[in-house]
Symmetry: C2
């Protein structure tokens, strides 16, 4: 390959500064004489120069790129979120670049800084699925860099545009639903204790019990790590410790899990023991993944509305980029329960 | 927010050209006097300037960013591919940016050009899941821009580094396996006819039949669109047209589908009719998705090795970026069959 022609080559060839070339390429007018202008365009043609997006963005300061940062490309909530951002932003001429952090704080910080350093016009960042470090986000926001967070928590984020999900309310509503369906003893498999949303979901479960006058029995609450195997393992323990009567039916009638994958693990453990779903135990996950709809027996789940959250995040971000609306930007998405026909009704 | 301090402000403040500032920031030595150097550093400090990655890359021409372009973030093959690229490239200090094309040729072209215009050091691009247009790829490659393709076909790509999957051999091997297990009549649900890999898979199926001396019966070959519903619909038609005897058992004993999602659709249609898997019909998908392992009854599948393909793609690309190895770069990944215990053995 021949050496790539740069803006400096044009400047040298036409005897002007790189700034002049850059301004011309970006159609900033009245900066040099018509003569000079013609000389530069001639050099551009002679050297067969194609202006790079980077050189252009030095002047326009816009790239029309939006960055999306999330921890796990395998997680369908983040896939939906990305999808929603894309649907909204691509109609407005933005291109998206996506970065995957693996829940690693250093990677997250590095991507934030890379994307913010003029690569993108703004960033949408979701939770890291563990303890979030918000320092860099708050820094960038204070410097005026457009940024929107999704499902991240922390008082320090109060001025940053935010999209949240009502995690507590979601699990509370599931307990309400189970209570109305006649369930009185409900087990819970929680996500990892370092994940804020896992803790909020568990809180919601506990609140739901109390609200309905049910006993909070800690022996029915176990902690997994959001992975399938942990759900299976926790369910085995619950069945070991609470099995009784014929076919070792347990002394609870429903189990809720902090996400769908753990719920599917629970399904496996229940079927291993020859028990029926939902006849012996109703199973409810969270996240509304395709898996929850595909597996048989079907499990109950809670849809978060990732696509809608993504669209809203894009709307907030683009408004920040264009400095259109400087009001507070915060919205909490409400859960959509998918329980009908997936939960056993217990006659009293 | 205060206006962002740029390289031009520093140049103005210290009375030198932007090029001089840029060279200093990039530690290009011997370009100006020590005096000038000190003046520039003082201005940088005074104005509290943080050099942007873009300004830096104007000189170094390296961004340490690798672009990955694929059509569908929901498809687990592409998730695996991305994962593999990331595992390999992040160890070597590269950051990844991912773009989703939706199989839209215009989006694909726009992303290619955006990423190639100095945003990234190189690009890994996978198939668009439909008829691929390779013009821009060949163009970029000819200009010397590092690019690697994954599962893209076309004579025009012969000089471009390529990672391929043995689609034909995969389906041929499944037919061999089914034949050895006693199956003699096998149905096939193909992916869409505009997708090169769908056609290759169907070819492999047909070759497999012929090779084993089995009749190719076109009434047993239907075409879906890689989505679950199309698999269910095709399977219903197969059962309608080929059902016979008690419980309407069909006159074939196995069905292969061009991907796992369509195979899962087929499972639904089979269960709807009260038939058993694999006792009445063995079901085999392709792609080795998590779904194929999670659903019950379990289906057979073929693992493509997306993670390994991603690692190899990253290895090729980084070698291109560093101009280390200029030899031909092409590798064809072989299928890994996951059929044991998922296929009925028919005694003769």
């Amino acid at each position: 390959m021949g050496k790539k022609v740069t803006i400096r080559d044009i400047a040298k060839e036409s005897g002007v500064s790189t700034t002049t070339v850059s301004r011309l390429l970006n159609h900033v007018e009245g900066y040099c004489s018509k003569d000079t202008e013609q000389r530069v365009w001639a050099a551009i043609e002679r050297l067969n120069y194609h202006p790079s997006k980077i050189a252009r963005s030095l002047v326009t300061q816009k790239t029309n790129l939006i960055g999306v940062i999330f921890p796990d490309i395998y997680n369908s909530f983040f896939q939906d979120l990305f999808r929603g951002v894309e649907e909204y932003a691509s109609r407005l001429g933005y291109q998206l670049i996506l970065c995957n952090t693996d829940g690693n704080s250093k990677k997250e910080r590095d991507y934030l800084l890379s994307l913010a350093e003029n690569l993108t016009d703004g960033i949408i960042i979701s939770t890291s699925n563990a303890k979030d470090d918000n320092t860099t986000i708050v820094d960038l926001h204070k410097k005026g860099f457009p940024i929107v967070t999704v499902e991240r928590y922390g008082k320090e984020l109060k001025d940053v545009p935010r999209i949240l999900f009502a995690n507590r309310e979601a699990e509370e509503q599931v307990v309400d639903y189970l209570y109305r369906s006649g369930h009185r003893r409900i087990a819970y498999i929680s996500g990892p204790s370092n994940a804020v949303n896992a803790n909020r979901r568990q809180e919601g479960f506990r609140n739901g019990l109390s609200k309905n006058g049910l006993l909070v029995d800690d022996s029915l609450i176990l902690t997994g790590d959001y992975k399938l195997e942990s759900g299976q393992e926790c369910m085995r323990r619950l069945l070991d410790e609470h099995g009784c009567g014929d076919r070792k039916k347990p002394d609870f009638t429903a189990v809720m899990a902090g996400n769908d994958l753990m719920a599917i693990g629970a399904v496996r453990a229940i079927l291993e023991r020859g028990l029926q779903i939902p006849d012996d135990i109703s199973v409810i996950g969270c996240d509304g993944t395709m898996l929850a709809d595909l597996i048989r027996p079907q499990i109950g789940t809670i849809r978060l509305g990732g696509i809608e959250m993504g669209k809203k995040a894009a709307e907030y971000l683009i408004s920040e980029i264009k400095s259109e609306d400087t009001g507070e930007k915060k919205v909490i998405f409400q859960p959509q329960l998918h329980l009908d026909g997936r939960i056993k009704t217990i006659e009293e």
